[in-house]
């Protein structure tokens, strides 16, 4: 098969009663890198009845959701309401620059309440501005006062078109409590940073729904998660070593989903303690670091994650762009990674063209992604590049990491579509003036007739 498509590697962990933990280490430079791999236990459904849930749905009906986005969001929410179990509780919040909470507090998911919720959702229309913070605050207000039998989940459907992201993150950090936040990104280009970060802070997950066809499939897999939290309240502690771990806040583990924790350690000593709750029982495992198996590429994995964190910090303005770029560049150069700021450049040390043979241009066969049609993608045949000038490879021939000055621009279409830029103001004003004049004429006509009589 030609190399013209992505492949997806899927695997399932062997079923075990308790979460299994893998520990790997790698020594690079003057630091040790550790990778902890926690697979949640495959709890048998019959044995462990899922805890009832309290689900708060928040739907964005601001103007930016207009068009297909609001249709997708409404379809997603309707699907979600249909998945609730009779012993669950729920509430619905809608917001633009104003906000409505459907029920004063969460209500049982019986047919009467579900009926009212479906009517409420069905009537939503996209208009107005976006004020996300009050809606998030309302969703995170937990009125159950320690009634911890319910797993509290917030499902937030939005395109994330807001400017005050930082304020939203602060709200989540301050108020998240025991709630878990699940962001559902709607539309073809939702604000992914906002969603990912909000879900991370809220120890939930981010699901992207890009088209109406995806609603059912994506919502089904999100709900499979929501209904089956395997391990909650996870935390990791290193006894001796000073560790720089990522992710900083450990998310809950769901069925068939491993937790991957990467850390850079100053010394390979002591142990790491991973703590959590399986269902309603506490779970704890202590792993001596010395027992870690030798692994490869862990430093790169750790660095890649730290780079992602820095990119997020840059977008959310927790770090200035210069500061974040400096961190990214340092990590990329140290660990030889391709990032927004760096590329790999290969220099061939052993030219195969004999001296004196002229350079010539020829086309090399290149695989297009499967399903693409060359003519449709590129139009007519591409122009041949200009004849190359004589040039010899220099340097030591090893892979070199070059720091580029200009970051790559995000993918852009070949041509820009221009928005509609005419209002009907003048048309309306002229029509209005004509009608006014006409009414005056009729009025004058009637008066004259009155005088005539």
């Amino acid at each position: 098969m030609p190399a013209d498509r992505d492949f997806e590697l899927t695997w399932k962990p062997a079923a075990e009663k308790a979460p299994s933990v893998g520990l790997f280490r790698e020594h690079v430079g003057d630091a040790d890198y550790l990778l902890a791999f926690v697979t949640p236990p495959a709890v048998e459904q019959a044995e462990q009845k899922p805890r009832p849930r309290e689900v708060i749905f928040v739907i964005d009906n601001s103007g930016s959701m207009g068009g297909t986005s609001i249709v997708q969001a409404k379809a997603s929410l309707t699907y979600a309401l249909g998945r609730l179990q009779p012993n669950d509780r729920f509430n619905v919040i809608r917001f633009d620059h104003t906000m409505d909470v459907l029920f004063p507090s969460a209500v049982p998911a019986d047919s009467e309440h579900l009926g009212r919720a479906n009517t409420f959702v069905g009537a939503l229309q996209a208009s107005g501005g976006t004020e996300m913070v009050p809606a998030m605050r309302a969703a995170l207000t937990d009125r159950s006062d320690g009634d911890t039998d319910y797993v509290r989940q917030v499902v937030f459907l939005t395109d994330g078109a807001i400017g005050n992201e930082q304020q939203l993150f602060e709200t989540i950090t301050a108020m998240r409590g025991r709630s878990r936040i699940f962001m559902v990104g709607i539309g073809s280009a939702p604000n992914t940073y906002l969603m990912t970060r909000a879900a991370e802070l809220g120890r939930g997950a981010f699901t992207h729904i890009g088209s109406t066809d995806q609603v059912e499939e994506r919502m089904r897999s999100l709900f499979a998660k929501l209904e089956n939290p395997a391990v909650t309240n996870l935390s990791a502690k290193f006894s001796d070593a000073h560790a720089d771990a990522t992710p900083a806040i450990l998310p809950d583990l769901y069925r068939d989903e491993p937790l991957v924790l990467a850390a850079r350690l100053d010394k390979l000593a002591g142990s790491v303690e991973i703590k959590g709750r399986i269902g309603d029982r506490p779970w704890l495992v202590t792993l001596p670091l010395a027992n870690a198996a030798e692994g490869k590429g862990l430093s790169k994995l750790w660095a890649r994650r730290k780079i992602d964190d820095a990119e997020v910090a840059r977008t959310t303005r927790q770090a200035s762009p210069e500061e974040a770029d400096k961190t990214i560049l340092a990590l990329a150069l140290e660990h030889q990674l391709v990032t927004r700021l760096t590329s790999l450049v290969a220099v061939d040390k052993t030219p195969s063209r004999p001296d004196g043979e002229p350079l010539k241009v020829s086309e090399l066969p290149l695989n297009l992604p499967a399903g693409w049609d060359f003519a449709k993608v590129f139009g007519e045949r591409p122009q041949l590049p200009m004849a190359p000038t004589e040039r010899r490879a220099e340097g030591d021939g090893r892979m070199q990491l070059a720091a580029l000055k200009r970051p790559a621009v995000a993918q852009a279409p070949d041509t820009i579509k221009l928005p509609k830029t005419a209002t009907d103001a003048e048309l309306k004003m002229i029509a209005g003036a004509i009608l006014l004049a006409l009414s005056l004429l009729v009025f004058a006509f009637i008066r004259r007739q009155n005088f005539a009589h």
């Binding site: 852009a412 279409p413 579509k417 221009l418 005419a422 103001a425 209005g432 009729v442």
Partner: protein, 191 residues
């Protein structure tokens, strides 16, 4: 009296229509005042500032043509909602002052009404939200279809395109757009 009812209704309808049209212009004018304020704050603080608390967008630049005494504060994004208040920075095009073609779009009857008076050789200043000002010189104009603008935002030159609906004095909207092309001449801090 019922014979007066018809002209009264007619007058009312006329007033409503006239009012709707005037409202569009009033909104466009008032928004620019609030946007000026928010943009000044953005430059001072370095953070995007919303012009009013429930806004869906925020100011990103100011376009000025000194010769015509025209100026407008540009908003992020070019959705119909944003364009009611000010010119929009078209998505997926670079910022002014960056390599490539920065495209700004606005209504021909409100914020870009001055575009028809811009002639080749006029200087256009664009101030970004970081306070830097870039000067462009208008060097061409063209009329294109909205979906065949021919603009490659990743071109290697430093260019600016201001776009609005064409023809300028038509009453209904059509598929044609007027483009004013300009090339950067200096990035001097002034103004």
């Amino acid at each position: 009296m019922p014979r007066f009812l018809a002209p009264l209704l007619l007058a009312l309808l006329g007033l409503i229509l006239f009012g709707q049209g005037a409202y569009i212009h009033a909104k466009a004018l008032l928004a620019q005042v609030l946007l000026e304020r928010a943009f000044a704050e953005t430059i001072a603080t370095g953070h995007p500032t919303k012009p009013w608390s429930w806004a869906d967008t925020w100011p990103v630049a100011r376009i000025e043509v000194k010769r015509l005494n025209a100026s407008a504060v540009v908003l992020a994004g070019s959705s119909g909602q944003a364009l009611a208040f000010g010119p929009g920075h078209v998505e997926l095009t670079p910022d002014a002052g960056e390599r490539g073609v920065a495209v700004y779009s606005a209504h021909r009857d409100t914020h870009f009404r001055f575009l028809k008076d811009v002639v080749i050789g006029d200087e256009i200043d664009v101030t970004r939200s970081d306070g830097k000002t870039f000067r462009y010189r208008a060097d061409a104009s063209s009329v294109v279809r909205f979906d065949a603008s021919g603009i490659d935002p990743l071109s290697s030159r430093y260019e600016l395109v201001l776009s609005t609906c064409w023809p300028f004095d038509a009453l209904t909207s059509g598929p044609e757009r007027y483009l004013l092309h300009a090339t950067m001449i200096e990035a001097a801090p002034h103004g």
